[in-house]
């Protein structure tokens, strides 16, 4: 499915840890930390759902399992977004792009990344505001009504890190921030 990651895997290089400035290592650590949280959320989803299904058989379902899984799903996807981007794991159609001249490629790639950076910067800001709105309205999860104002802020954090990752890719053409 990953058209870009498959077709470009042979051409891409990854930033080596030794020769790179400190900010690259820090950025990698942040992306890895978010990915660890996302991975733990996937594992937690399995545990919560299994406990709920087995508990239900014995008349003791896990209270709020639906809400917990919903929240864990959101944590997973947002937390894994910077990691997937850092590995250049998104689907893109490279067929026409690869036929451009070198200058054409640089111009188009720069424009595409600037548009993407603008979108994620905008989303970073909007999710902060959305979290404030949710907090003010007292909105909660769908069945238990637990507070979820922090979830848009989690999205905002992940979108912010996305901006930094795309910025790295913009300034280091042909390199992926992290190895898959």
């Amino acid at each position: 499915m990953t058209g870009r990651s498959v077709s470009q895997s042979s051409q891409q290089t990854t930033a080596g840890s030794g020769s790179h400035p400190r900010y690259v290592l820090v950025l990698r650590r942040i992306v890895s930390a978010l990915a660890v949280v996302a991975g733990a959320a996937v594992a937690a989803m399995i545990v919560v759902t299994c406990v709920d299904v087995v508990g239900r058989r014995f008349g003791h379902p896990l209270k709020g399992a639906y809400d917990i899984v919903e929240i864990l799903g959101a944590i997973t996807i947002a937390g894994g977004l910077p990691y997937t981007t850092a590995c250049k794991g998104h689907v893109a159609i490279e067929f026409f792009f690869q036929r451009l001249s070198r200058t054409g490629k640089i111009v188009v790639d720069t424009l595409v990344r600037i548009v993407t950076i603008s979108m994620f910067s905008f989303l970073t800001w909007r999710f902060v505001l959305y979290g404030v709105e949710v907090k003010a309205s007292g909105q909660g999860t769908s069945t238990m009504g637990w507070p979820i104002f922090w979830l848009p802020w989690w999205f905002s954090l992940c979108c912010g890190v996305m901006v930094l990752v795309i910025l790295y890719h913009l300034t280091h053409p042909g390199k992926a921030l992290m190895k898959p």
Binding site: M1, T2, G39, T76, Y83, T84, C87, A92
Partner: protein, 436 residues
């Protein structure tokens, strides 16, 4: 400008952005956002609210959590050696036939598809497991790689299937019904792929020499490697079909079962589990972000009313429904050559779904047809993802050779598509038994 004109302009802008190599998900979100603002008379506040809410709701959607769970199930099965044991079982039974190893690959792909929801993942898994064996027995790499790339696509049709899940969520159809509808077409495809291999080897025996035969005892002993897949498939699908649990719960049970089985067999180390989680994250995020982009784009298209106008226009043409269906299938075949399978489904469902339902076609049957034509797209040049995956693993074989090796299987898929159009009950028979 009328909303319809803005909608058409939006589609053109989307094509331009896609050609610029912008990730599909981001391109759909950008066009959806700007287009929505244009339709509501440049009311940016409304567009901002729409995009934030759409992204938030998609990310925090309970029904979509099924995707990472099924993907993890497949990853653990691969890292825990289940795929290798499946191939071994198929190899013992089919290997001694001419072209038997290629048939065994197709069989193993079909079985692995029962616990893995992605075609390219199935191709990658079987390329690692089956290609070294076929090389050892001096199989033509054209046939071997073609069988692995094409066999992997069966994983898209045999449940669980990521494309079915996404289609079900977008069109509000039952995931369970779509899963069960994919079983017979998936098995039919596997059968026709084996016939394709047999006919090729009958004409040119040097393509797939027979492997030495083994005793009946060895054959039956090899089946021990398939029991875990059978149990997992029966538990997950049975539980879903008979209403014991939801698709998300089924996926969680399947993932947990796969982890437990591979741990008990001491074939899943902590390192392999972490690797499975990493690959799960990448695949799931890649899928979910496209779904989120498609939701934003779909929202924009819906307010322009382009899909409905197109449905009315196509419905008003003096053409029989099946001709329009053939045209839609041809469109998917051609577009599938250039666009990734899942992205194509997400891009086009908002447009074609109203057309197809307007013409009176069954939405479940259409879901199966969509998966079938996107299967074709993954083995046709220039953007054939399953072929790329095999080529990435078997670097000595030129890409053209693998594409050439996939052509006979593409013809088999076209035969399956024709059979599905002529006999829709191939897809609808099993769902009618479960939900009469």
């Amino acid at each position: 400008m009328t909303p319809e004109q803005i909608g058409i302009l939006g589609c053109i802008a989307l094509v331009a952005l896609l050609c610029s190599s912008m990730p599909v998900a981001f391109a759909m979100a950008v066009v959806g956002f700007v287009g929505f603002a244009a339709v509501v008379h440049w009311n940016w506040h409304a567009a901002v609210s729409m995009m934030t809410m759409d992204l938030y709701k998609t990310f925090a959607s309970y029904s979509l959590t099924v995707i990472p769970l099924f993907v993890l199930m497949g990853q653990v099965a691969f890292h825990g050696g289940i795929s290798r044991r499946l191939f071994d079982a198929a190899y013992h039974w089919l290997g001694p036939l001419r072209g038997g190893l290629a048939m065994a690959t197709v069989g193993a792909c079909t079985a692995f598809g029962a616990i893995c929801g992605s075609g390219p993942a199935t191709s990658a898994t079987m390329a690692l497991v089956a290609l070294p064996e076929m090389k050892r027995y001096k199989y033509s790499m054209e046939l071997a790689c073609g069988a692995v790339a094409s066999g992997g696509t069966i994983g898209m049709m045999i449940p669980p299937s990521v494309v079915f899940i996404v289609y079900a969520i977008l069109t509000e159809q039952s995931i369970g019904s779509l899963f069960i509808a994919g079983i017979l077409p998936g098995l039919l495809t596997a059968l026709l792929f084996c016939v394709t291999i047999y006919v090729q080897c009958l004409r040119r025996p040097e393509l797939g020499p027979a492997a030495p035969s083994c005793s009946w005892k060895a054959k039956f002993l090899s089946l021990r490697g398939a029991w875990e897949t059978l149990i997992l498939f029966a538990a997950v699908m049975g539980g879903m079909f008979f209403g014991f649990f939801t698709p998300t719960e089924g996926a969680a049970i399947g993932a947990a079962g796969t982890i437990v089985i591979t741990m008990v067999k001491r074939q899943l180390s902590f390192g392999k589990f972490v690797q499975s989680l990493k690959e799960t994250l990448r695949t799931s995020v890649m899928v979910m972000i496209i779904v989120a982009g498609a939701v934003v784009f779909g929202h924009f298209l819906a307010i322009t009313r382009v899909p409905f106008s197109m449905a009315n226009w196509l419905g008003g043409l003096a053409l029989p429904g099946w001709v329009i269906m053939l045209l839609i299938t041809a469109f998917y075949l051609i577009a599938g050559c250039f666009v990734d399978a899942l992205a194509l489904v997400l891009l086009t469902i908002p447009i074609f779904y109203p057309v197809v339902t307007n013409l009176g076609f069954d939405p479940i049957w259409f879901g199966v047809m969509i998966v079938l034509v996107t299967q074709m797209g993954t083995i046709t040049p220039p953007v054939g993802v399953c072929v790329y995956v095999v080529s990435g693993i078997e670097r000595d074989v030129p890409l053209e050779t693998i594409f050439r090796g996939s052509i006979p299987f593409l013809l088999a898929l076209i035969v399956v598509a024709i059979l599905l159009i002529l006999f829709p009950s191939i897809a609808l028979f099993l769902p009618s038994l479960v939900h009469p």
